[in-house]
Amino acid sequence: MGKTFKRPEALAVQESHYCPGCTHGVAHRLVAEVIDELGVRGRTVGIAPVGCAVLAYNYFTFDFQEAAHGRAPAMATGIKRVRPDLVVFTYQGDGDLASIGMGEIIHAANRGEKFTTVFINNAVYGMTGGQMAPTTMPGQRTTTSPSGRDVNDVGMPIKVSELLAALNTPAYISRQSVIKPKYIVKAKKAIKTAFQYQLERRCFSFVELVSTCPTNWGLTPVEAVKWAEETLIPYYPLGEIKTPEKAEGGTDAK
């Protein structure tokens, strides 16, 4: 019997710099598996964000660019517009995408840019040390909301997938999670669907992944999964949020 579980070719042999219990590793692996399965590694360009995944390029074995904070969708637009044959994705966290980069993601989605975004939502800034994010939950304590997020002062957490889905331009928008195997299987399916829409030059494609950050939540990895499941998922419901209408043409003519 041959090997049934092996490292995807798109994933590098590299020691992880992520914290114990962090789900970035799972999300990276899912992206790598999808790129392998679609056979597009040789024409893929990833764009790393600013945040914990700023070094994401260390874990992949294909071309990568590094963006400024929040600007990955503009860079992806630049690439995809001048080289439509390349497979382009951005990998962004909640501080990067939903705060400083909100303008860039909304306009890229609204133009229907034919790239894919993987959005890691763990309700907190990671790399800068656990500050409040636009997706931080009401009452959630962070280093800049030490008494808990006060929604009367800073508003409610932003549901990015729903916000993008409200745009009239056709898009594929899905929210999944990577905190348990049962969610991971669906998350992979959504990521693959998103890349397939890109290959068909159909629409902008976006997968939000509800994730954990035990370090900045001040929880153990096991407690973090429990908190995500009991607190985040009810507010950020999982599932397909928007799919594109059947469109004419749009084949992957390389």
Partner: protein, 356 residues
């Protein structure tokens, strides 16, 4: 092809296409919106790409992304827009990508005004964005020169893997002059396979490329900055361009002036000559690298009693003039920067007051 009459902004857009650049991203801002308007129909006609971004911030990164995957790309903007693009310009310089930025300057600071200015000299030549980087900055004094500089900018950006900026004032963009697009300034994009993220299949390589400006290891960051510094030193050796005017005479006053302002100064110099007063001028065509030696030599001439920096700013280039004159003679500044262009008569009066 013969000469045709064109507005500066439209000629600048056409020059990008003639230089072999078929990718243009932009955001509208006065006084250069005609470039975007022109290219919105001319680019598709030429088989190229036109895209209007949602902000100058985003456009800066569209340029970065396109450049980083190896394609020729350019944008045009005006002062406040360049401030917003300066973040991306810093990243592009740090990641060593070629790109061409055109700044048709208007008055500042803040919203300032929409009339011609040269008040972005510091921003263009000393940084603008954060970190240790420089742009190769060229300053045209006519629509024809703007066309030539835009066409020259692409191979220069690729030679140095660094952004090049064309720094024109609002008059260069708004006035109409006869132009021609020199065939000899057409160029083929260089091969970028050794660094560009153009896809491994494209370059038939198993080695992946990475475009980044982050170096967490202080030794590595210092090394990267030394590579950048060496490029800027090489620009100083190889790219300085300037035009001397009436410097064969025994002038007592040396004017240093660039862009539209230098044309007014030329008229003043001609008028003064008719009155028997000789004034010399150095017109920098590259603002970085600055024609340091030319200014020093011209100021060192035995007859020269004073150097005068004439610019449409409150005294920015004058700091470089002082640095280069190196104490050989006193240095003065004259200028306006509300959007009015000083007249030849004003310059003549200033020169005469310097002589009295």
């Amino acid at each position: 092809m013969g000469k045709i009459l064109m507005k500066g902004n439209e000629a600048i857009g056409e020059a990008g296409i003639r230089a072999g650049c078929l990718n243009y991203f932009a955001y509208p801002i006065t006084p250069q919106s005609e470039v975007a308007e022109y290219l919105s129909h001319r680019m598709p006609e030429a088989g190229g790409l036109f895209l209007q971004g949602e902000s100058e911030v985003a456009v800066g990164y569209m340029i970065f992304g396109a450049s980083a995957c190896g394609e020729r790309v350019f944008t045009t903007s005006s002062s406040p827009g360049i401030s917003l693009m300066s973040e991306a310009i810093s990243y592009i310089a740090g990641a060593q990508c070629p790109a061409v930025f055109v700044n048709i300057m208007r008055g500042g600071p803040g919203l300032g005004g929409i009339l011609p200015s040269q008040a972005d000299y510091f921003q263009a030549t000393k940084g603008g964005g954060h970190g240790d980087y420089r742009l190769l900055v060229m300053a045209p004094a006519s629509v024809q020169e703007a066309v030539e500089m835009v066409m020259m900018a692409f191979p220069l950006a690729e030679k140095y893997r660094n952004p090049v900026m064309i720094l024109g004032d609002g008059l260069i963009g708004q006035m109409m002059e006869p132009v021609e697009f020199p065939e000899n300034l057409k160029s083929e994009p260089s091969n970028k396979d050794d660094w560009a993220t153009n896809g491994m299949d494209t370059r038939k390589s198993e080695k992946r490329n990475l475009v980044k400006s982050l170096f967490l290891d202080p030794v590595k960051l210092n090394e990267n900055n030394l590579i950048l510094k060496e490029k800027y030193e090489r620009m100083k050796r190889e790219e300085i361009r300037f035009e001397p005017y009436n410097t064969d005479s025994d002038y007592k006053i040396l004017i240093v002036s660039y862009g539209t302002m230098s044309r007014v100064c030329k008229t003043a110099i001609d008028n003064l000559k008719a009155e028997g007063i000789d004034v010399g001028m150095i017109r920098p065509q590259t603002l970085f690298p600055f024609p340091e030696d030319a200014v020093f030599q011209a100021a060192s001439k035995k007859s020269c009693r004073m150097a005068l920096s004439v610019e449409m700013s409150m005294g920015q280039m004058v700091e470089d003039v002082e640095r280069c004159v190196h104490g050989k003679c006193p240095v003065k500044w004259y200028g306006k920067c509300g959007g009015e262009v000083p007249t030849p008569e004003e310059i003549m009066d200033v020169v005469k007051s310097c002589l009295s």
